[in-house]
């Protein structure tokens, strides 16, 4: 890895290198097999040792070949240097240990003194196999790979942060500038963007294309294809060129499957490079036009990457509902369907079964953990049903339009912590019901067309919940009669 640095690595080296992750399992398996045979052998010590000698010889030889291939692979330079160093030397030690073991088994098994060292060395080789293998896994998959799905109580014991924090949706945190006059162009604007969109592949642990982007020095140094940034010349800078390529292009950055830069971010990056790619200047000291200004305003107002609102419920991971429970509901011709294939949240729709009432709907209890949306418009349900679902933990949307519910029923809904949308169209709910609605904590939108509420009641509700969107429906008259407007025929 030192010898060929900075030069272009011939394809055949990398070709062999890519066999390393495959071939390496062969000596691992052989060695373990040899150990098992040794451990369970009924023979005397000398015969025991001798019988596994061929296995140990093959282990050693194949391990050496694996080491050579591993070295080829390491030339690609995409790995964390510290881990690689350890992995490399442990691997070489392991190969040599295997050969030593083979030699001992073959020639020293009769020697009462030397044969005593066989067992300790074999144990050492076992430790080496485990350790080297683990490091190899870390190199390939990343050090968090093994523990990323570790269940919660064990995480705590091992001192690993809870999963949401380690694996959360990174890269979409909005970048915000508090003081435009004082903000630094690189530290406050460019680096956060690079961190979100580039660092995951170009960092200390992983260097795709031999490129690191986690410090100004590395950015200026460039990668396997040379410098990526020419200050003052965005159209010649690979950094900009690759971002601007068509997303389907092989060389486009970020690659397929990663989050792309937004249009604003691209414009800012181009501007930064064009104005000299400064790493320590203030934004205010760099000339900008109206376009940049309007983008910067978005950053100061925090509206640059307004996160799309999504109910916190959908961020949970919950077990799927039992098939039997769903089947029970389908017997009533209720449509039970996952809101998306990704997760187990369910929607229950009575579109094909307007005849259902409280009795049939009791079967919903079986999926109460999963149900997030209930479309029960026009069914025979009553307040009793609302009492039943008041204990469901994840209801987000509830359509009970054109049903016989009353104020009493609405009073149960205040315990639905996540209820955001409520459809009460065509119900007999009047102003007294609005007091109960005001108690629903997360409500965002309510439909009240053809109910008994008055404008005054709506006004009061809006005062209590200023952010609630209230729809009262069409007033029954168009503001203007367009057919009265004459159109003149041209001559």
């Amino acid at each position: 890895m030192i010898l060929l640095d900075a030069e272009v690595i011939p394809d055949w080296i990398l070709f062999f290198g890519h066999f390393h992750p495959m071939l390496v399992h062969l000596p691992i398996g052989m060695l373990l097999m040899g150990m098992i045979l040794y451990l369970f052998s009924q023979k005397e010590e000398a015969a025991r040792q001798k019988s596994i000698a061929p296995i140990l010889w093959s282990t050693g030889i194949v391990a050496l070949i694996s080491c050579a291939m591993g070295w080829c692979l390491s030339l690609a330079g995409e790995y964390d240097q510290d881990t690689l160093f350890l992995h490399q030397w442990l691997g070489i030690s392991l190969a040599l240990s295997s050969l030593a073991l083979a030699y001992m088994a073959q020639f020293w098994s009769q020697d009462s003194l030397m044969s005593r060292f066989f067992k300790p060395l074999l144990s050492l080789a076992f430790i080496l196999v485990m350790w080297t293998g683990h490091l190899g896994g870390n190199l390939t998959h990343g050090s968090e790979y093994l523990t990323s799905y570790l269940p919660q109580p064990w995480r705590g014991w091992l001192g690993i942060a809870p999963r949401e924090q380690t694996k959360g949706e990174k890269g979409v945190q909005p970048i915000r500038i508090n003081n435009l006059q004082e903000a630094l162009i690189y530290q406050d604007l460019i680096q956060p963007t690079l961190k979100q969109k580039c660092w995951s592949c170009h960092n200390a642990e992983k260097q795709k294309g031999k490129l690191r982007m986690d410090s100004p020095a590395y950015i200026m140094k460039g990668g396997a294809n040379g410098v990526i940034l020419i200050a003052g010349n965005p159209s010649e800078s690979d950094l900009i060129k690759r971002i601007l390529l068509d997303p389907s292009h092989e060389d486009h950055m970020p690659p397929k499957g990663k989050i792309n830069l937004t249009e604003d971010e691209i414009v800012l990056l181009q501007w930064w490079v064009k104005e000299g790619a400064h790493f320590n200047k203030k934004i205010a000291d760099i000339p900008y036009d109206t376009r940049i200004k309007s983008i910067l305003t978005k950053y100061t107002q925090g509206t640059n990457q307004q996160e799309v609102y999504i109910s916190p419920v959908f961020k949970e991971n919950i077990p799927a509902a039992a098939e039997a429970d769903i089947l029970k509901l389908r017997k009533h011709h209720l449509l039970v369907i996952a809101v998306s294939k990704e997760k187990s949240f369910l929607e229950v729709n009575a579109i094909n079964s307007k005849h259902v009432g409280d009795k049939e709907l009791q079967d919903l209890d079986g999926i109460k953990e999963q149900v997030v949306s209930l479309k029960m418009g026009g069914t025979k349900l009553t307040d009793e049903f609302l009492q039943q679902i008041s204990k469901y933990p994840r209801i987000i949307s509830l359509q009970i339009n054109h049903t016989n519910i009353s104020v009493q029923g609405l009073s149960y809904l205040s315990s639905l912590q996540h209820l955001e949308t409520l459809n009460l169209v065509g119900t007999s709910i009047g102003d007294e019901g609005l007091a109960e609605i005001a108690k629903i904590p997360a409500l965002r939108k309510i439909y009240l067309w053809q109910s008994k509420v008055t404008d005054q009641g709506i006004h009061l509700l809006q005062k209590k919940m200023p952010k609630l969107v209230i729809d009262q429906g069409w007033k029954g008259k168009w503001p203007l009669d367009t057919l009265q407007i004459s159109t003149k025929k041209p001559e």
């Binding site: 809101v339 990704e342 094909n352 459809n423 029954g476 003149k488 025929k489 041209p490």
Partner: protein, 489 residues
Amino acid sequence: MDKIIQEAIQREAQLATRRHFLSSLGTGLGSLALGSFLTNCSSDAGTSFASPLAAKSSPKLGKAKSVIFLHMAGAPSQLELFDYKPSLAKFDGKECPPELLAGKKFAFIRGVPNLLGPKAHFEQRGQAGHWISDYLPHLASQADRVSFLKGMHTDQFNHAPAQLLMHTGSARLGRPSMGSWVSYGLGSENQNLPGFVVLASGGKNPDAGKSAWGSGFLPSIYQGVQCRSEGEPILFIQNPSGVNSDIRKASIETINQINQETYQEFGDPETVARIAQYEMAYKMQSSVPEVMDIKKEPAYIHEMYGTEPGKESFANNCLLARKLVEQGVRFVQLFDWGWDTHGTGLDGSVDYGLHQKCRQIDKASTALLLDLEQRGLLDETLVVWGGEFGRTPMQENREGKKLAYFGRDHHTEAFTMWLAGGGIKPGVSYGETDDLGYSTISGKTSVYDLQATILQCLGFNHEEFTYPFQGRNFRLTDVFGKVIDPILA
């Protein structure tokens, strides 16, 4: 004798293709379809949702559950409706600069045409400040509900191929339409109605014909069902005289049983589609007349849409679209013919004919938005409005001669569409054209981008939503398309 046996073997090999074999391995469609056979009458409801039209979940969380696509067939003039160009008015009657014409081809314009200033009066509407002309006063009152794509472009300047491109992702015949893709992906929530319904008004079907709602290589159960708003909604669906519903049911059961045996013999998935179609047709005998009957709608609804029951009109179709979506239909495709304003006649003039067309659709399309909203359906219904391309900033000079009326030729480089409802951020205007409205200078979006965005709203990644056919995976957007994020909520 040997020859006969050999031929028999070869015949069977021809019938059971590798694809049939592989697809039957994966899904076992036949048994699924039989399970759903006339479930209304059977007691085993447990398997009733496994037919090809059973409601399915989207791969990702989608805001929209259904789509209403209002297609103004013939292509409305963006320069009279949404894309306000004061500079174009300034140069009205002047010759078009030659650099705009160099290397360009038009459907009818020849030589050097004159520029034609906007013939409508524009104002900024709502808080969003959208420019909407007085041709569409009702829509203007709801400007904050809709979002505009002003930088749309296409590569087809004739109606039929451009319409095909818009609806099937290819200017040539044979690809499944957007509605077919959607009903293939999401099925139909209503077990008695198809997933994809087509309604046409304006006296003519669109130039692209039935291929604009064809199922292409998808199973034919997913093709659009065209309903007429005048007379019987679907032809040949009612029982002939002397055949009562029991006889009809018994005969369909028998036919399907035979089809089932045929499927087991040959394994052709089209047989499954045919079984499902018979089944659906039987169910539609009662469900369709009910949903297609707008007479029972209250008077205020007729007032709202401007509908007249029994007539073929865009307004009636808008009301029907709302009813269908309310009943769980996934994709409703409306075509309204008569927007091809070349200026060859009074009806085809941008200063009169276009205004008349706008009057026919303005109230109804606005009412559709309001009616969906008050029922709580707009959150889950994506409404799309537009034509297959735009119209030129130049006055048409057909074959080099001056026409009697003001008209505009077909234009591919810039046109406007609007979207509203499920998944769309309201009040956005994305894309900008140059001062003459000739081409897009920022926020350029293609027909594929629009399709990708529609699929995105429904919870599909347009790149992953594929169907294997003739050895490759096909998608609606072919190898193109980029989701238009700025207009997404």
